[in-house]
């Protein structure tokens, strides 16, 4: 197992390096001057050009530039957004909490609901319930999240006037304490609902597939032959065998909590990473865009390794190999 984890960690490290190098070359391959990209504005002043040149060693050979770039990043300096006149890392930290509030809530909801529905459908394969749920899963699976968000706004806000359409708090009222929390919860309903609905089919399908597999496993026959209750076999043996793929899927999905909800956040004007990305695109704020990408990919790589470790602990077949 030590070797396995070592190998996975190496892959993670390589991934981070590849992402860094990729970012570096994207800046250089893109049409236009790397200085304008790194400085973060179209017409930088001579002073800013000089500062940027010195900081990233732009007059040095390209491999020195690459090294300087990586060293800067390793210090935690993700660059500077000129448009917002602030360090990229600071901008990201400000928004991260809001995004995690949405994505983590909906990730857990989708896991629980999706798995429960998957188990319900597996109880009687081919039944009306199974067919209806599978159809709904297909439709949701094929739906762009941002469009579903718009439709929920149309239904629940514009028509039924139940929930607010945008933002995280009511800007006109300045709530505090419990009232503030309730206000945020009210604003969360639609975006969380959208993300949950989009996430459900994945868990539904994986649960159904792995249960179908596991119910055919030979140990079922043995336990049945031994006179064990079908319910007990399901609860103790099938469930434990079937749940591992679900947990891995959940773990892997969690890796994308930072950036996975960008388009939905934009629909609901949620003050998270998605909005940050959108404004970076609109104002051509490349340092910000790349900073977000770096943070996302590094966190994905690290998280994936953690998931592997967890999986290795949970599954004895890996633990002892």
């Amino acid at each position: 197992m030590g070797r396995y984890l070592g190998k996975r960690s190496l892959t993670g490290l390589l991934t981070v390096i590849v992402v860094l190098v990729l970012n570096f070359f994207l800046i250089h391959l893109a049409p236009g001057d790397p200085i304008t990209i790194l400085a973060g504005m179209d017409n930088p002043s001579q002073e800013l050009i000089d500062i940027t040149k010195a900081k990233y060693g732009l007059d040095k050979p390209i491999y020195v530039q690459l090294w300087t770039y990586i060293k800067t990043l390793l210090k935690g300096d993700l660059g500077h957004s000129i448009i917002q006149a602030r360090p990229v890392s600071q901008l990201i930290m400000e928004r991260l909490g809001n995004t995690l509030l949405l994505t983590l809530t909906s990730a857990v909801l989708a896991l629980v609901i999706g798995t429960a529905l998957g188990i319900a459908a597996s109880r009687k394969p081919g039944s009306a319930l199974d067919n209806v749920l599978s159809l709904i899963a297909y439709v949701l699976y094929s739906m762009p999240g941002f469009w579903l968000g718009l439709m929920l706004i149309l239904l629940f806000s514009s028509t039924l006037r139940l929930f607010p359409t945008s933002g995280m708090v009511d800007a006109r009222a300045s709530y505090t304490g419990i009232a503030y929390v309730l206000d945020v919860l009210k604003h969360m309903v639609l975006p969380v609902g959208t993300l949950t609905l989009i996430g459900i089919p994945g868990y539904f399908r994986i649960t159904k597939a792995s249960l179908a597999q596991v119910l055919k496993d030979d140990y079922n026959t043995l336990f049945l032959a031994a006179g064990m209750d079908e319910k007990k076999i399901f609860r103790k043996y099938c469930f434990r065998n079937a749940i591992l793929p679900t947990i891995t899927t959940f773990g892997m999905r969690l890796a994308y909590v930072i950036a996975g909800s960008a388009t939905v956040e934009i629909v609901f004007a949620w003050p998270g990473m998605g909005r940050l990305v959108m404004s970076a695109i609109n104002t051509r704020d490349y340092p910000l865009l790349m900073g977000v990408y770096l943070v996302t990919s590094v966190s994905v790589a690290v998280w994936m390794i953690l998931v592997d470790i967890f999986y290795a602990i949970a599954d004895p077949r890996i633990r002892y190999s």
């Binding site: 030979d218 065998n241 002892y320």
Partner: protein, 324 residues
């Protein structure tokens, strides 16, 4: 009458699997009886329906299987008894060593934990220690150390899992144990060991057993009676010293011809040209007729019934009776 001592008796048992393209007739009109303390071997080519019959006895077949006929275990009608009776019977009275023992334990639970669970089905209040004590003894019978209980199935070899399955089948001292190809997946040396262990269990623990195999020599060494199965039919049933010494059915004769001598080197079945028929098609004549060297007109018209030869054997062949 000897009938009373029968532990298990099958009458006209038919088992078919419903598939989208037709019914697979896996067992057809099987009639068989087994008295307490007896050992019965079932031999036949791969796909002849041996496992289907074994699973049918404990009602372990998939929902697609349709079973008709009568299966009596002592005075319990196995096909019609209620769920409770069946559950009480399973493993306590009838246990099975499955063909796929390698996969017959859950891969993510320890062997011991699963065995404790199985034991507690019939003895709910048993402590882990009691079960381990009992298993320790049974494991020593099959030459395994008891540390295997604390391991996961993938940490054990196929042969070890097979032995665990064998000792697990004896945990409640059942009246009948069905060994479904319990030795086929093993190498020759291990196979020999396991077989001699089975023989010892039979004599020491007085278990009645059914030994399913496609290896005639295994039956010759281990069993008292034998049933030869072909395409779902029990072609010839009788004492080993009759069926394997002076076989009456052409299929049995072919089967034996492919084994040079019963104690000599084992060979795969090769003596009979042709292959098993398609079990989905309803055959017009005898299922073996297309491959039978002695087939005559009647053989292509109807399936022969099981005929008692008067020497304790039953044979499904038109040659019986027509000759004499």
């Amino acid at each position: 009458m000897g009938e009373k001592q029968n532990l298990l008796s099958l009458e006209d048992v038919c088992i078919g699997y419903e598939t989208p393209t037709g019914t697979v007739r896996a067992v057809v009109n099987a009639t068989l009886s087994l008295s307490a303390g007896d050992t019965l071997g079932i031999v036949g080519e791969s796909g002849s329906g041996k496992s289907t019959l074994a699973h049918g006895i404990l009602r372990l077949l998939p929902k697609t299987a349709v079973v008709t006929g009568r299966m009596m275990f002592q005075d319990v009608d196995l096909l019609r008894c209620d769920a409770k009776t069946l559950k009480d019977l399973r493993w306590k009275d009838i246990a099975v060593v499955f063909q796929k023992s390698m996969n017959s334990l859950s891969p993510v639970h320890k062997v011991g934990e699963q065995i404790v669970d199985i034991y507690r089905v019939h003895v709910p209040q048993a402590t882990k220690e009691e079960v381990y004590d009992r298993m320790r003894h049974l494991l020593s019978v099959v030459n395994l150390p008891d540390r295997v209980l604390d391991l996961y199935p993938h940490q054990l070899s196929g042969g070890m899992l097979q032995r665990i399955s064998i000792s697990l089948s004896l945990i409640h001292q059942p009246k009948l144990v069905i060994f479904d190809e319990a030795t086929t997946a093993l190498d020759v040396v291990t196979q020999g060991q396991v077989l001699s262990e089975i023989r010892r269990l039979q004599s020491e623990m007085h278990v009645t057993s059914i030994l399913i195999t496609h290896d005639v020599s295994v039956v010759a060494e281990t069993c008292r009676r034998v049933a030869v199965m072909y395409a779902g039919h029990l072609m010839e049933v009788g004492p080993v010293d009759q069926v394997l010494v002076s076989p009456r059915h052409p299929y049995t004769q072919g089967l034996l011809a492919s084994f040079p001598s019963l104690s000599g080197a084992r060979r795969r079945l090769r003596g009979i040209p042709g292959t098993l028929p398609d079990l989905k098609a309803e055959p017009k004549g005898c299922v073996f007729a297309p491959r039978c060297p002695k087939a005559f007109d009647r053989c292509h018209e109807s399936m022969p019934p099981a005929v008692d030869t008067g020497t304790g054997c039953t044979v499904k062949c038109h040659l019986e009776g027509s000759e004499r």
